[in-house]
Amino acid sequence: MATVPQIAPNPVPPAPEPVEAVQPKKMGRFNVWDTPWFNTRLLVGVGIITVILFMGVIGPIFWDTDLASERNLEARRLPPVGFTSIRGVEGTWDHPLGTNNFGHDMLAIALVGAPNTFILGFVAASIGMLVGIILGFTSGFMGGLVDDIIRLAADITLTIPALMVLIVLNSVFDRIDLLTMAVIISAFAWPRPTRQIRAQVLSMRESGYVRMARLSGASNIDIMFKEMLPNLIPYLFASFISGATGAILAAVGLETLGLGPQGAITLGGTIYDAYTNLALSGNLWWWWGVPTILLSIMFVGLLLINLGLDEIANPRLRRGKK
């Protein structure tokens, strides 16, 4: 192959100014509102949940929550304000959301029941997450037989419909309080976080920065807490919300069957009362309607948060917005 003749490079004339350069769009000032954490769904979802929680916290200050359990024979079967019941009775501001068969005030029920529902969901989800983190990390790091056993346990727990076992349990033990129930439900809340965290650990183990950490002598615990956990945060949030949703779902299921926690007023339990007292055919629609609508709003809110978190955790979903 012939070589290219040696050149004496000419003095290079300066490159011209781009004549009709396309003016690049002005870089907007770095907009703090642009971070992915502020996407619509997340905000709306958080908004909804906050409002409900707020109601639950502030409500009792302004409204007498004893009305939820006090029988008020005079004010029975009142519809919500603005409505007239089949019996021709009109709603009053004394009981804005109406009353049930026994005269219990629906607004009070809502103000007590909603927080109870949340507490149950969050406690169960928290326990589930904690267990999930521990087992997920263990499974991911240790591998081998430990990993197999944990995975097997998770698979089995996932396959078994939680409600069935909970039904058996709650029918035998009929005096269960709210917190105990939350703990019991958490027994079914751990597999998903465990799986998720395990998957993340496995994929992160082989990633560059973890390897670097290991090479520089960091211990496993260090790696876990300083490298992996911070990156897991969006996933953990999403997992928590999913877990809470699932727990509330299980709880509502039990409550509507009459197997809910004793002593605590719950939205599901209210539905049970309404249903068994024939509120449907008796046209006391607000009795089951208020808790049902409230629960629906809650679930929608939780879903929105979940979807919003999904967008953060998975940037690919950010494009292609409707």
Binding site: L152, T159, S171, F173, T245, Y275
Partner: protein, 338 residues
């Protein structure tokens, strides 16, 4: 298409077996955690709940013999497992001497029927909608249904059931509010009237399940279709000049649906639980009503038998899907050359 490798088969069978065994053990242990003799406690509770148990002594004796309650716990356990294997769940306390299994068998066909129909429709409708979402020529109206469906998925099926029951059965009166067919008016049989009645009564319960589930599938399928669209084999399919519908079906849908099937198996447990509650709301004579009625009656053997049966059913359904999967996705069944 492909065949099932032995290792896969064995693994799936083992897991299913372990799941069922674990559930059985749980159901064995739980009643025995409560203080006292489970049977006396049951009978006692029932009497408190106001049921008529004249022959309580006979019941207790019958149970004791059957389940060896006098014997040590491990022995009880073995006998229990053995009984389960023959589907012997004991007797109903309320309806003694009716065996629990008889009660289950009466309700089971209704549950299965509703479950299968709702399941199949949800899967088909959901995935179909998800698939056409990607097509540019789908009308906007239909595309708008998906986000709505997504919102619906957050609502548990019982709540949807309550709404539907109230609006369409009580207020509008378009659909019946209970039972699986017009009991007393129509005799069950393979005639048009009966089948029509069944469909009519089953519409709202099925709808309750479908409405809250289809959105999930639609979204998933849409996502998968987008993923598949970006795959290299799609580009080659287009370069090959194949007909558009053929490409849509054989190259896109056929590949996009695979993860959906796997995901489906995971949701079976939730589906079964949800359906039980829907049946309860609609007083549909399936397992849901059985469980509810017996919770009221505190008839534990029935509750436990029904619960276990449903768990077993779910585990078997998951196994079924797992076994079918290799036939559809050849990557699972056969290994590679290299």
């Amino acid at each position: 298409m492909g065949k099932i490798p032995l290792s896969y088969l064995l693994r799936r069978l083992t897991i299913t077996f372990l799941t069922i065994w674990f559930a059985a053990t749980l159901i064995f242990i739980i009643p025995r955690l409560a203080p006292g003799d489970p049977i006396s406690a049951m009978v006692g509770d029932m009497q408190n709940a106001g049921s008529d148990t004249e022959n309580s002594e006979a019941i207790i004796q019958g149970w004791r013999e059957r389940f060896g309650l006098d014997e040590a716990l491990p022995v009880q356990y073995i006998r229990y497992l053995g009984n389960l294997a023959t589907f012997d769940f004991g007797y109903s306390i309320n309806a003694f001497p009716t065996p629990v299994m008889a009660i289950i068998l009466r309700a089971l066909p209704w549950t299965l029927g509703l479950l299968v129909v709702a399941m199949v429709l949800t899967f088909l409708i959901g995935n179909f909608l998800g698939a056409i979402m990607v097509w540019s020529r789908t009308p906007r109206l239909i595309k708008a249904i998906i986000p709505l469906g997504m919102v619906f998925t957050s609502i548990p099926s019982i709540l949807a059931a309550l709404f539907l029951l109230y609006i369409f059965a009580f207020v509008l009166g378009w659909f019946p509010d209970s039972d699986a067919y017009a009991v007393g008016e129509i005799t069950p049989g393979l005639n048009l009237e009966f089948i029509g009645s069944v469909l009519y009564h089953g519409t709202l319960p099925a709808l309750a399940i479908i409405l809250v589930s289809f959105g999930y599938w639609a979204l998933g399928m849409r996502g998968m279709m987008i993923t598949v669209e970006g795959e290299d084999y799609m580009q080659l399919a287009q370069a090959k000049g194949l007909r558009p519908f053929y490409v849509l079906y054989r190259y896109m849908i056929r590949n996009a649906i695979l993860p959906q099937i796997t995901a489906f198996a995971i949701t079976l447990g939730t589906l079964v639980s949800g359906q039980v509650l829907v049946e309860y709301v609609f007083q549909y004579p399936g397992m849901g009503r059985v469980i509810y009625e017996n919770i009221l009656a505190q008839d534990f053997p029935v509750i436990q038998g029904a619960a276990f049966f449903l768990i077993m059913l779910t585990a078997l359904a998951v196994l079924f899907v797992d076994l079918i999967y290799p036939y559809i996705d050849p990557r699972i069944s056969v290994g590679s050359i290299e």
